[in-house]
Subunit: 148 residues, 2 copies
């Protein structure tokens, strides 16, 4: 089975609220905005969908249940970019779960939750880079000594 | 805030079980495989992480809860490719939630759940294509008349 993902679909309680958060609050441009589903391009050949949780369950043939068993992350170029993105999310009405701070893995990150509790990490990771061919280069970096 | 996702992290109950499913069952090559977290490249500049649910909660500063409020999807070139990918997932021990079938949106798709219940859609969507520059072209296609 191919090692790929093309679409991440978030189940939402109220599509109007979620659309307002992403399209207006965060200022994202929809790829396709229909009455019952909204898509955003979030990478090369990659889209994010917003779809009512009940419809998402119906589509799979099994009820979809709320929860927070995953996170979506943006890797940014600097701690300052993390701070700015978090300011924008906060202004859009996001719930800040973790204020931007130095992270155990050696980078700088914070978390917020969207209107449905879906969790986003805003992250500067010095061990993450992307080669010209799109390959992710990921190395475990030594955490700063925060104990001493 | 940028319109991008670089990392999708799935909270898992038992990392060994999940690693076995993705690395051995599905045959995926890890990008980085550490004791406590595993990463796979799943797109251009995009990675999937497997991380214990408790650790994912601790990292965000708030407990992460199980649930199925989202799906990950692969878009494939043909219905036959959907069938083949589902066979591979089934052989890997996935729970098939929806056998591959014609879909309301005009394509052909099925769903399976990984060992933690995370849901994957395998999909052929005639209305989905990716331009040379990576732009997703997504059009609502007319569903086949399955009522008549």
């Amino acid at each position: 089975m191919n090692q790929q993902v093309n679409l991440v679909t978030l189940g939402v309680e109220d599509l109007k609220t979620s659309r307002r958060f992403y399209s207006h609050g965060l200022g994202w441009t929809p790829l396709l905005d229909l009455d019952g589903i909204v898509f955003y391009q979030i990478g090369r050949g990659l889209a994010l969908g917003l779809f009512p949780l009940a419809d998402l369950g119906a589509d799979t043939g099994h009820p979809a249940t709320p929860g927070s068993p995953f996170t979506l992350a943006q890797n940014l170029d600097s701690p300052d970019d993390v701070d700015k993105a978090m300011q924008r999310a906060r202004a859009a009405g996001a719930t800040v779960l973790k204020e931007p701070q130095h992270a155990a893995f050696g980078g700088y990150h914070g978390y917020f939750a969207d209107p449905d509790g879906h969790r986003w990490e805003l992250c500067h990771n010095p061990g993450w880079s992307v080669a010209d061919d799109g390959s992710v280069v990921l190395t475990a970096v030594e955490a700063p000594d925060t104990e001493g």
